[in-house]
């Protein structure tokens, strides 16, 4: 077991935003989280990472290394791409050279060789997000947390980054929670999808993709994505009316 949410509720001030959310994530499992914006999907990731605490219920995990990929790259502007990555390698008993070595290998893997000494301001949006992905995976995470990392990028970039993420998972297999609003994304990456809905948000649907990731063909993906879309539209109809 990687992480378990047990009846977790969360308030922002007086407003309840998450209501008794329960699920369990096993080793190597990838969970997609879908739902309308403002439903508390990001809060779910924060609860998992431990940066916020639940108001009731429990988040159980014995993991230490969480690789967070935020919606925006969140790089320190005054550090180079390489220095942004070595930053998270501190306190691991590594020498400076080892840190640099590991960080630049990771950058290479994401197609950023030659850009180690560039500052974030000098990189394109897609490159910055790749640095952010490298930062999350360089710590060899036990749980990767992705918060709509490809929103705002154009479709071509989105596809290539998604492929990069899949490749990365073969190098660094780990459990993952992936927040997205695109059913396609969910079917491509995840083993299971949960749908959050309502005010406060609770899990209204859950869907397992049984076929292994490597064997999902175009037809399967379209079929499952369509199912997921129908779940999403069905649940969101009462809210929008």
């Amino acid at each position: 077991m990687v992480i378990e949410f047990d009846n977790v509720s969360k308030f922002f001030g007086k407003r309840k935003i998450l209501d008794s959310v329960s699920f369990r994530l096993e080793e190597g499992q990838i969970l997609a989280i879908l739902g309308p914006s403002g439903i508390g999907k990001t809060t779910l990731l924060r609860l998992a990472a431990g940066t916020v605490k639940p108001d009731s219920g429990q988040v159980r995990t014995d993991k230490q290394r969480f690789g967070f990929i935020f919606q925006e790259p969140r790089l320190l502007p005054w550090r180079t791409a390489l220095a942004n990555i070595t930053l998270v390698l501190q306190n691991r008993g590594l020498s400076r050279d080892e840190q640099r070595e590991i960080a630049s290998t990771m950058l290479k893997r994401l197609g950023l060789q030659g850009f180690e000494q560039y500052y974030p301001a000098e990189l394109s949006g897609g490159m910055r997000q790749r640095v952010s992905i490298a930062r999350a995976f360089v710590i060899d995470p036990e749980l990767a947390l992705l918060d709509e990392p490809f929103t705002g990028l154009d479709i071509g970039l989105k596809i290539s980054l998604r492929q990069m993420l899949l490749d990365l998972l073969t190098w660094h297999p780990c459990a993952m929670m992936y927040v997205t609003h695109e059913p396609q994304d969910a079917v491509l990456l995840a083993d299971r999808a949960i749908v959050l809905e309502g005010k406060p948000g609770r899990i209204v649907a859950s869907m397992d993709f049984e076929r292994p990731r490597g064997e999902r063909d175009q037809a399967y993906i379209q079929d499952q994505a369509a199912k997921l879309t129908s779940v999403l539209t069905a649940t969101s109809l009462p809210v929008s009316s």
Partner: protein, 258 residues
């Protein structure tokens, strides 16, 4: 293409030079019509500038003033940053200090200087204390804003990756605050020099540039006054330029290269 860039770089300087020449001509005409006693000619002023920069007595006065400026500036930065960080992190501290800041901002600097002189006499520390009190609000408010400007999302990143608090302070807060504080420090430098000179003039019989100025006025030596004006403007420009250069070449590489 390269011609275009050159023109864009050179033309501003040409226009600035034209401005300097034009004002020098106007200045010369003024001194022609009012007489060199009231308005010293540009050439007389230049002679006075070299005299100021070569005579040991005036150089000593200059050094004395700069010493006071540095003392006051250092104290401003230390006290302003210390209290500004507290006020930035805890809003109640800001509320508590607000009346003091409001008073210091609203009081005419001459009035405060006079108060200090009347109550505590005149001397090095009094001059520096006046400049400290009057320059303090600038650095304080600058720091408060700098601390507030530290991104919450950046802090979340530090927490999510389980980075220690010292790293957060040194790698996150410190560069962010310093960067946001640079404009305030630059403004404070010029302000402090002007405040110190003002205090020196008002103390009377003191020392430093202010004293030289007072003497020049008594002797109606306008060339000397003009010369001090130019020297002080050049000093402020040089200090600001050096600071900016240091900052740009070291701290702000990430921004300048953009």
């Amino acid at each position: 293409m390269s011609n275009f860039w050159n023109a864009r770089k050179v033309l501003p300087f040409l226009w600035m030079a034209t401005g300097v020449v034009a004002f020098t001509v106007v200045w010369q005409l003024m001194s022609n019509s009012y007489g060199p006693l009231l308005v010293a000619t540009p050439s007389e002023t230049m002679v006075a500038v070299t005299r100021l920069l070569t005579s040991p007595a005036t150089l000593a006065a200059f050094a004395r003033t700069l010493g006071r400026v540095l003392l006051a500036l250092g104290l401003q930065i230390v006290s302003g940053v210390a209290s500004g960080v507290l006020a930035g992190l805890y809003p109640w501290v800001e509320d508590l200090l607000r009346p003091v800041i409001d008073a210091l901002v609203a009081v005419p600097p001459v009035a405060l200087t006079l108060l200090v002189i009347l109550m505590f006499g005149s001397g090095d520390y009094q001059v520096a204390a006046t400049a400290l009190a009057l320059g303090f609000p600038l650095l304080y408010t600058g720091t408060v804003r700098a601390v507030r400007s530290v991104d919450r999302s950046m802090l979340e990143m530090f927490r999510a990756f389980r980075l220690p608090r010292t790293t957060q302070l040194l790698v996150g807060y410190l560069p962010a605050t310093l960067y946001a504080l640079i404009p305030s420090i630059l403004l404070a430098t010029g302000l402090t020099l002007r405040l110190v000179v003002m205090a020196e003039v008002m103390v009377g019989g003191g020392s430093g540039i202010g004293q030289s100025l007072s003497e020049a006025r008594v002797h109606m030596a306008t060339a000397e006054i003009f010369a001090w004006l130019l020297v002080m403007a050049a000093t402020v420009l040089m200090i600001e330029g050096t600071l900016l250069y240091l900052v740009k070449s070291h701290l702000l590489k990430w921004q300048a290269r953009r």
